[in-house]
């Protein structure tokens, strides 16, 4: 075989390989994109259809904003038996969950979910601006003593964590404000939403994490982008 021919054949083979390669690559790019199967499904953001959005209430720093959970004037008791108003939390970002101490299924998981958030915030050194609040929905059984034990058992850092109890009506109001659903059964146990609520420094709801063992990335993004 002539050398020149050989060269031409080598060249052809290389060219063809290159041709195939580039083509395949081009095709795969779209296939890959299809395989991505990414679905962005943000949680329902429900808002009122009519009316003016008073987004920018310019209120005094001391006043409680119109959309703040701290508008609730209910009286709570903390794990040390001291009286506690929700507005005491003002100025901190709050991670809030409603629970009951004798819950054996979801509440322990929710607490772990909150702890994961705590750990993540510790790592980012912003932990000092946060409060972690558990509010009991079981006024009959969850006395300050019981929740104090609960705190010990779970090794909560009580500089950051607060466990609150209150009367049934005050519990109902907080549940109503946060969209938390719950129902007591005959045995005195509760069915309830698995819900973690995030409040900004004003006490306004900025995000809610629905479900157990959720990926916390999304929630952390909300916490970091606010303020």
């Amino acid at each position: 075989m002539n050398k020149r021919h050989k060269i031409a054949i080598y060249g052809l083979i290389t060219g063809a390989a290159l041709f195939l390669f580039t083509n395949l690559f081009g095709c795969f790019a779209t296939a890959e994109e299809k395989a991505e199967k990414l679905i962005t499904k943000t949680e329902t953001a429900t808002e009122v259809k009519h009316g003016n959005h008073s987004c920018c209430d310019n209120e005094d720093a001391g006043e409680i904003s119109s959309g703040s959970v701290y508008q609730l004037e209910s009286e709570w008791t903390n794990q040390d038996g001291h009286m506690f108003f929700l507005k005491n939390l003002k100025g901190k970002k709050v991670v809030l969950t409603m629970f009951y101490a004798s819950c054996t299924y979801a509440c322990p998981i929710l607490v772990q979910d909150m702890k994961r958030i705590e750990t993540a915030l510790e790592e980012s050194n912003s932990i000092s601006s946060y409060k972690f609040v558990l509010a009991s929905i079981d006024p009959e059984r969850d006395t300050p003593g019981v929740v104090k034990d609960f705190a010990k058992k779970n090794k909560f850092n009580l500089n950051r964590w607060t466990i609150l109890t209150a009367g049934p009506d005050d519990v109902m109001e907080l549940a109503a404000v946060t969209g938390f659903k719950y129902k007591k059964d005959k045995e005195g146990n509760y069915s309830h939403s698995n819900l973690i609520t995030f409040l900004n420094e004003e006490g306004e709801i900025i995000h809610q994490q629905v479900g157990l063992n959720q990926d916390i990335t999304n929630s952390l993004t909300y916490l970091n982008t606010q303020n």
């Binding site: 060249g11 290159l18 041709f19 779209t30 199967k37 962005t40 329902t44 953001a45 009122v48």
Partner: protein, 497 residues
């Protein structure tokens, strides 16, 4: 050696350039489509039978869809009203058109005057509930969620709020088209047709505001089966239009809630059917099944002019419950494809009773029918004279029960041929068509006790079909005028005696 290397490099370079040119021209890879998300636009939505224009973009975009759930009182049939729960004010809901890869931001607005909370399950969504949980919305509120349109196809959407059957039965469904990346081949016309059933307290045609009948819905026994939300939404002036030589694409959906549709266009063959709204196409199809909560895309070229009837070929639904639509094709005749009627002769069959079984094996006994008086040629809406119009109505509306030969079915449907009942009294005949006929009647000495539902025909059509019947099969040869029909329609109650 150096020279050889130079040469090699030259040849190599040459081949690289050639292959690059090839790549750019190679059609299979659709190099023109860029998968990068670009831009944002508001989806234009249309009410049936119209479809938003094709999407010409060659890249995915962020699409904003605003859809309002609204409870409205509207016409279900002539004289019949119903409270429809809708997506966008009409049944079926607005047609949504997006492209594969688009990110759809969906805003579901529930009108402040709604009694019910509503939500939306789009079959085009990959995710729990198809969006139902994320879109559950109280009256006077708006829910927002977004999804990526991963799969191309034609998808049903519907409300999924409890009791879900009732929300669908009241009209809460529509179609969303996710165009494939490369788009759909261009056609001349596109239309949106959706079949569904209504379960009313009153029977078909019973006038007044008709409430939802839960028991009938559970029994899957609808009073109405319709295209595009009401009887007549696709007939007469509302018929969809085309010209000869055009290719039509129909996006067909079935909202259910219960029945599966056997969708058929009388006198057409679907050149192409994307079965169940998916990617595969079948060719040369007469009737295509459309499941409840499913769809199909059908394409066909219309070669000859005329009115082509859309039906659910579960045929009683078409003729007794309203599942009729029309495609009116205008243009020039093509007699090579369809001749029209060339002859009309009387056919006596065989005289020998024993040979009845062998009807078609013996010599045919034909005799020309006397010419029908055509002096009163009326140019009606179909461009037909009354006899021809009457015949076309008979062969679509009446023949299912009374048979093509007018003999009826012994013991079930009375005969119209040589019928003493019919020939005795025009008024009774007119009334039977417009008001229906219930209870015992005696025809040619035999009693029948069935129900004839009122027929959804206008005065001209009633006059035409009766005139046709009176001039067939040894009947009295009477003529019925529009005025006579109008008179009976006003009187309402006619004694059967």
């Amino acid at each position: 050696m150096k020279r050889k290397n130079q040469k090699l490099a030259f040849v190599f370079l040459f081949l690289v350039i050639i292959s690059v040119i090839f790549i750019l021209l190679y059609p299979g890879c659709d190099q023109s489509y860029s998968s990068q998300l670009k831009g944002e636009e508001r989806a234009s939505l249309t009410s049936a039978p119209y479809v938003p224009p094709p999407i010409l973009r060659n890249h995915p975009s962020r699409i904003i869809v605003d859809l309002e759930t609204k409870e409205v009182k509207k016409r279900l049939a002539d004289g019949v009203e119903y409270v429809f729960w809708t997506f966008g004010g009409n049944v079926p809901g607005k047609f949504i058109r997006v492209k594969e890869g688009d990110i759809v931001e969906f805003n579901l607005h529930n009108n402040p005057t709604s009694k019910m909370p509503h939500n939306i399950d789009l079959h085009a969504v990959t995710g729990p509930g198809g969006g139902a949980t994320s879109s559950f919305t109280a009256p006077g509120h708006t829910s927002t969620f977004s999804f990526k349109a991963l799969n191309s196809g034609l998808y049903v959407y519907h409300c999924a709020t409890a009791p879900v059957g009732m929300h669908i039965a009241n009209g809460m469904y529509g179609l969303i088209l996710v165009e494939p990346k490369e788009g759909l081949p261009p056609v001349d016309r596109e239309y949106y047709v959706m079949q569904s059933e209504f379960y009313t307290q009153g029977r078909y045609g019973e006038s007044g505001l008709q409430p939802f009948a839960q028991q009938k819905a559970e029994d899957e026994n609808p009073a109405y089966v319709v295209f595009n939300g009401s009887v007549g939404a696709l007939t007469g002036d509302n018929a969809i239009q085309a010209k000869t030589g055009e290719t039509i694409r129909l996006y067909i959906g079935n909202g259910g809630p219960n029945l599966v549709s056997s969708f058929h266009v009388i006198g057409e063959i679907f050149d192409k059917v994307f079965t169940e709204g998916g990617t595969r196409s079948n060719h040369n199809v007469q009737t295509t099944l459309i499941p409840a909560g499913g769809s199909a895309i059908v394409e066909f070229k219309v070669e000859v002019p005329g009115t082509f009837i859309l039906v659910d070929h579960s045929i009683f639904r078409a003729f007794n419950k309203g599942a009729i639509g029309m495609l009116k094709v205008s243009g020039n005749e093509d007699l090579a494809i369809y001749s029209g009627k060339q002859k009309d002769q009387v056919y006596f069959g065989s005289d020998d009773e024993d040979e009845d079984q062998d009807l078609f094996s013996g010599p045919l006994n034909l005799k020309s029918l006397p010419e029908i008086d055509n002096t009163q040629h009326i140019n009606n809406e179909y461009g037909l004279d009354p006899i021809e119009l009457g015949k076309s109505i008979y062969t679509t509306t009446c023949f299912a029960c009374h048979q093509l030969n007018g003999e009826g079915m012994p013991g079930v449907f009375p005969p119209l041929a040589k019928s003493d009942f019919l020939n005795k009294n025009k008024e009774v005949a007119i009334s039977a068509i417009i008001n229906g006929l219930t209870g015992e009647v005696t025809v040619n000495g035999k009693t029948y006790n069935g129900i004839m539902p009122p027929q959804n025909l206008n005065n001209k059509q009633v006059a035409a079909v009766l005139t046709y019947v009176y001039n067939q099969w040894g009947n009295s040869g009477k003529k019925v005028s529009e005025d006579e029909v109008a008179e009976i329609r006003e009187k309402k109650v006619i004694s059967m005696k």
